[in-house]
Amino acid sequence: MVDLSYLIDPVYIATIIIFIIGLQRMSHPLTARSGIVWAGAAMLIATLVTFLTPELTNFALIAIAIVIGGGLGYIAAKRVAMTDMPQMVAIYNGMGGGAAAGIAAVHLLGTTTPATSTLAVIGGLIGAVSFSGSMIAFMKLQGWMRPRPITFPGQQVVNMAVLALAALSGILLLWQPSFLPVAFSAYLPLFFVLSLAFGILMTLPIGGADMPVVISMYNAFTGLAVGLDGFSFATPNYAMVIAGIIVGAAGTLLTVLMARAMNRSIANILFGAFGATEETAVEIQGSIKSIEADDVAAMLAYANSVVIVPGYGMAVAQAQQKVKELMDQLESRNVTVKFAIHPVAGRMPGHMNVLLAEAGISYDHLFDRDEINQEFPGTDVVLVIGANDVVNPAAHREGSPLFGMPILDVEQARNVIVLKRGQGRGFSGIENDLFYRDNTRMLYGDAKETLGELVQAIKRL
């Protein structure tokens, strides 16, 4: 066969450039779609050119593995409902981390230099943590596990001990001291088992509402693992290094932005077991008052301005299409309809934007917290659809676990209607002061059905 391996580096360089341009295009709504198409084309060519790598064997195995993995990934991603996107992003993050850990393991089983094996160990540790942690996040989001934090006494100590042991076994793996009775080969499985265990333990105490931060963090972890793994090859794979580190940096930035939106430190999110403890001893003044759909319909139809606050409950009920119908009805009656989007509403960054876009609501109706907050005092009706913690005024009360979290100040509107499935609490497990306010009415029921009733009632008016 003709040696075409000289093509590899130029193609990899072009791939990286196109990735960067693609990401940049993805940061603007108008060009975003072309960005991913560019990046996809670059990835395809990079994959093909990789087959030209000198001394490459096992071609059949590689091809079979690509067909299996690619086929499964394609089918799952095509079939999944838009509301299940957070867990799909989590699971693909985990797979990337798992692949990075696998590469590290293959290299550690072969001949290495001290430098390449050190980077393989670090990349392997991070990749394995991202893999098992993402799987737990996936199971929590998919409902295969209780989304509430899982805690036990001495959890932080146990977690830190497991991490320390994983690091220690990694060091022994590199050092290979002759005085220890255990053979070198025993450390490799031990190292990965401990790393995977740490990923699981680290994710268990993190609650459902903190998942946007966690998903984004594991995205950064996988990127970092891929980047470091790029150095574990006999000839460094700079395409992996650069793409991985870019994702690591971007993911870290996104994680920080998410955490800031909740006014909490990343350490607090990771180790705080937020929502595990029940808030007690706070007497909330007032009572919860419910309302019927017909009354809400009249209230909405004769309002001047309505602000809709969507939350995870809207996603669960798949109610976004009904929200769009309601918006159309109201707009035909010259009611101004706006959407207030909290940065951490839902289970992944930008979750609400995606669902509303799916329903065909254009993004000039959507407003960030900073833009919409001063408008609430002049708003006639706020309709809260399955959101809870992000509208809880307890965030303004010192001593509340939510204290300091920037919220949507919906309680300042003239009327607040809360659509809610039942009388349960939000994922944080914290009682919501908003429900007890004089200007708040609760409309119980499945969000999709309730919205359908509202649309019909408005049509009849």
């Binding site: 990401l23 993805m26 996809g40 690619g70 499964l72 990934g73 799909m88 995606v354 876009a357 254009s362």
Partner: protein
């Protein structure tokens, strides 16, 4: 890795980190999901590493782990791409609704 190679690596990592930071820092909230899922796709580049790892594997143990790594990497790439494309497609169609848009 020699010392000079080490410093080359440091240069590359720092510049790549800055690139990631700068490219992402001006992204509006509306695009956080596609961006996250897009960067999810980008780290699917791990596939090419997994291919090389499996392609150069000699022992059965290496081959098994390498095979799993390629499967996972390929799923990451295709899944990440399809999801990002689907999300962005929705943003596209929501723009094209008549009467709205800026």
């Amino acid at each position: 890795m020699e010392l000079s190679l080490f410093w080359t690596a440091v240069y590359i990592v720092i510049l790549a980190a800055f690139t990631g930071y700068v490219v992402i820092s001006r992204v509006p909230v509306i695009l956080h999901t596609p961006l996250m899922s897009g960067s999810n796709f980008i780290h699917g580049i791990v596939l090419i590493g997994a291919m090389v790892a499996l392609g150069l594997a000699t022992t059965p143990g290496q081959q098994i782990i390498g095979f799993i790594a390629v499967v996972l990497g390929a799923a990451n790439v295709t899944g990440g791409y399809v999801i990002t494309e689907r999300i962005l497609q929705m943003f596209d169609s929501s723009r094209k609704k008549p009467g709205k848009g800026d």
